[in-house]
Symmetry: C2
Subunit: 589 residues, 2 copies
């Protein structure tokens, strides 16, 4: 350590929001270069290399071959698949000296597809799985949490190619199994959750989430084994109800009831339920006006009806309307709506659903605006909802009789206690950090880019693909996030930058001689040693550095050296044991 | 090989200009993604990893620590050192979603300097050498030769930090020694030549050039041990001559002599030398008008006088005027010159040197334009040169008496036979490809970015730095360029993608059983094997693939397998030897 390129810092970095970021910087593993962009110092690079080795070993075991693509790629393939635009501001775009458009790749589906198209042409060449460990770029609006969400980050991305759906299932499972082995070896707890393929297209999609309070994702799981990203959660719709003989809807004056709570209070006070039970927010239908902002900037207004006891979850809505972005309708949207067919417009706080004719309640002409509902709004359900007039609501409005939605959309928030769609019981909510993602792209990319092979019958068939990613640098951060205490990092043995940290304390020559002998002995057992040979540094500072750096096993060579005794210090348990140097070889054997 | 991700190609890539590019693509090592941007296939990645391992080992032996910087960096540090502008069109620049300027780093001097500034503050922390193996970006005007000059390429760049000049010499020598070991291990012949530090600033600078006809650089060397890049070659100036009593210069009519040859012919015909020898081009002074284009686009006109038997070498002139670009003056430049002080302008073909007053010969007012000369134009040399009038030249014009230059510039071409500046005899010219560069940056970057440490006396001193680069992907291409024949690649053992290529030929089960046994046996010796187990591929195709791929040792398992005999095929010599399987283990031991 007297000449190793390493400086530990006493102060936390001012921009550190999470423990891993704080400790990795303080212990000399990484240094910030720009928002979300880091340099790797020797200790950090060693940990990263160990993680990459584990991933490479498991990729090889899964039969995947390693390749390496450039980060800088031409626009064309991404134009063909639409991702040049779909990625929006998240894509780093640039031009070369000749004015050709280039990008820094956020993922590499397009070029992997083109590579296989270039080289392969028969079903006999398949299945094929290829991967790379490579630096990727995403211009995050707000890069946070150090390595947890960087703008430059290292990713293992693998892609599988099959000519049948059954083949894709096998390739997918091989990667999924490899992921389980990788995260187990890394000591990373994970939950495999159903995910929405989102902007990537495709069908089956699962995320490996590490459950952690600093996670950016919310997921749900039931005791019965269901687990899904909230974006992928599917509401268990109740059965439709036969509404024959249901009383007609009635419009009542409900002055000053622009919110659900005021409406429920007013309803209970002035229009009590015939059966004597209290009205609740769940009896009301809240119609929310949203704007879908398309890639070309155009806005479509949609109205979504959800039970009044639930908020709309914009992230869930965005999945439904991807790649459009979704936002609350603004005054301009409402003003434009007002002009369509000269209607009086939407009355905020009193908006009602559309009639079966496509017109708003109380009107005659179709609006041309989509009215979508939560899956719970099945035929025969009765609702208190806006009458499209200020201060008036309609009671007993029956879905399927008094209004007909243009479709169903997963827009409402998911709540603890909601039933899992597979019938496995109520779900609970938890926070997680995505550490891996496996999904079946299907034929989307192969179709767009023309990747076909000849099948057994000599017919050209489009290849079906899978895409599989692990955030390498994020995994490192999550491991650091999990393995630390107030004093510093505590690396699991599998990824520690060194196996053993030898500390010489005091000034006696015998201490340094013994330390060197111990270092040689431990290295002879095949372990890497970081040897703190600094002569003018106090034992307290050395111990503090060792705790901060977090190598799992520490050997303290001090006064006992004269008697051939050293101390073994387990960084995780804090336990210290005296051991004779003569027994150390056996200990490390 | 039946499932390895590899396809050899029958056709040469249409854009391949050099052998290495052609063979690396055909043999399935790399694939082009965009001009100068390549993807690495499994075989290529393995060779690259072996080169990187050799470099890492020698960097460790030289005491350098490995770090890793991002490719995407903020503008600011490069702005401070001036390189944001100086790199011109060669720098990939981009902006993030917030409009911040970023670049893809061409080299990393700035951020290494800032890292050390961040962490170190005392001479006790030094010396320090740190390196990375990292992907770099340069927007080459014309990327050519496949990997020889890519726009994205892998480089090992190291930087040393010392607080004394003597320390820098030691750090520099350690890297230089490591480079010699690396290139020797890679089997790459090299010449260490003096180089000009050029746009990088700094003082001592040496290039490791691999002598090759496809090289982009020209260098000179003498039998006495001198070697230099032509840009760094320094002309051995003759001693000045006492011109006391030299006859006065005379202007003669020399109609229709706009070129050196016509002038020499006219001089010999009409104005023979008094001593009877023939006039030659070397007796004439050719005054060349050049434009220096500064970074801000402004143009400075300079006139450079060189002996008439030499061309101006623009690359040498550019080094002298860096970071300005140099080009021949255009009509616009001449026109502007015409207007300065209302003079008649420069008469092409008859341009003369400036007088001692700074005015052109035959004029009175100073031009304000710099007149520079070749080092051979020492005081007392006599010249035939233009008289600044169409059809007229001046004879016996004496340097130092009739004209005085504003300075000396290395502008003339270097020719075989020119004397080496160190007196080691005449030089010869050769072509080379730069594979390494070591140079002493000195304090330029540390000064610009404020990297200082406390010295032994507690005084702040600016750190002095070295910068050391090896083009990893270029080295790979040069190795391929060197090691091949008409059939394909022939890798040196140190970097071959596999050590041994086992080929099963024929259809008998015994052949495949023997091949598997041979593979196991060779792998047991610690060697990597590529096993060609393809069942429906003819021996001829397999042999062709093996020759193209270029693994140094090939084992052919064929008919002899029934008798326990296989063939050892040395890819380089072409020699084939029959060996009993029972003796193979001893052979590979």
């Amino acid at each position: 350590m007297s000449n190793y390129f390493l400086r530990t810092l006493r102060e936390d970095p001012s921009d550190a929001e999470v423990t891993s970021h704080r400790l990795l910087v303080r212990a000399g593993y990484i240094r910030r270069q720009a928002p979300g962009i880091f340099a790797w110092l020797p200790l950090g690079l060693k940990v990263k290399a160990k993680i990459e080795t584990i991933i490479r070993e498991e990729m090889a075991a899964a039969g995947a071959f390693e390749v390496h693509f450039p980060a800088l790629l031409p626009r064309e393939p991404y134009e063909v698949t639409g991702r040049w635009d779909e990625y929006g501001d998240g894509l780093f775009r640039l031009q070369d000296r000749k004015g050709s458009d280039l990008l820094l790749a956020p993922t590499h589906e397009e070029v992997f597809t083109l590579l296989v198209k270039d080289l392969y042409n028969s079903y006999k060449d398949l299945p094929l799985s290829i991967f790379q460990i490579q630096d990727k770029y995403r211009d995050e609006a707000r890069s946070r949490g150090g390595l947890l969400r960087g703008r430059e980050f290292t990713m293992k991305d693998a892609y599988s190619f099959d000519h049948t759906d059954a083949g894709l299932d096998v390739s997918y499972q091989a990667q999924r199994d490899a992921y389980e082995r990788i995260f187990t070896r890394l000591g990373l707890e994970y939950v495999v959750v159903q995910a929405d393929a989102g902007a990537m297209g495709g069908s089956k999609s699962e995320e490996f989430l590490h459950p952690t309070a600093v996670g950016e994702d919310t997921f749900v799981r039931s005791d019965g084994g269901y687990a899904a990203n909230v974006e992928a959660f599917r509401t268990l719709a109740p059965a439709a109800i036969d509404f024959t003989g249901f009383p007609a809807a009635e419009v009542h004056d409900t002055p000053d009831t622009p919110t659900i709570q005021t409406l429920v209070d007013s309803a209970n006070a002035n229009h009590p339920r015939p059966d004597g039970r209290e009205w609740t927010a769940a009896d009301t239908l809240k119609n929310v006006v949203l704007a879908l902002v398309q890639l070309d900037g155009s806005r479509e207004i949609v109205v979504i009806g959800v039970p009044g006891d639930r908020d709309v979850d914009l992230k869930r809505v965005e999945v439904a309307f991807a790649p459009a972005e979704v936002e609350a309708a603004n005054d301009g949207d409402f003003a434009k709506l007002d002009k369509i067919a000269g209607r009086p417009g939407l009355v905020k706080g009193y908006i009602g659903p559309w009639s079966a004719t496509g017109a708003m309640l109380g009107e005659e002409s179709a609006t041309g605006i989509r009215f979508l509902v939560d899956p719970r709004v099945v035929d025969g359900t009765e609702w208190i909802t806006g009458a499209n007039e200020a201060g008036r609501h309609v009671f007993g409005l029956v879905a399927g009789r008094d209004f007909v939605a243009d479709g169903v959309v997963e827009a409402a928030e998911v709540r603890a206690g909601d039933p899992a769609p597979d019938g496995s019981g109520p779900v609970e909510l938890a926070r997680g950090m995505e550490i891996g993602h496996v999904f079946q792209l299907g034929r989307k990319y192969a179709e767009a880019l023309g990747l076909k092979v000849l099948d057994e019958n000599g017919k050209l068939v489009t290849v079906t693909m899978g895409s599989y990613g692990i955030g390498v640098t994020r995994a490192l951060a999550v491991i650091a996030e999990l393995n630390n205490d107030a004093k510093g990092l505590i690396w699991p043995e599998a990824v520690a930058p060194f196996d053993v940290h030898v500390i010489a304390t005091g000034r006696d020559e015998i201490v340094f001689e013994t330390s060197e002998a111990v270092t040689a002995l431990v290295e002879a057992s095949g372990r890497d040693v970081l040897y703190d040979d600094r002569r003018k540094v106090s034992p307290g500072v050395k111990f503090g550095d060792a705790e901060l750096i977090g190598i799992p096993t520490i050997v303290i060579v001090g006064r006992g050296a004269a008697d051939g005794i050293v101390e073994l210090w387990d960084r995780r348990s804090g336990e210290r044991t005296q051991v004779a140097v003569s027994e150390l070889a056996a200990h490390f054997a």
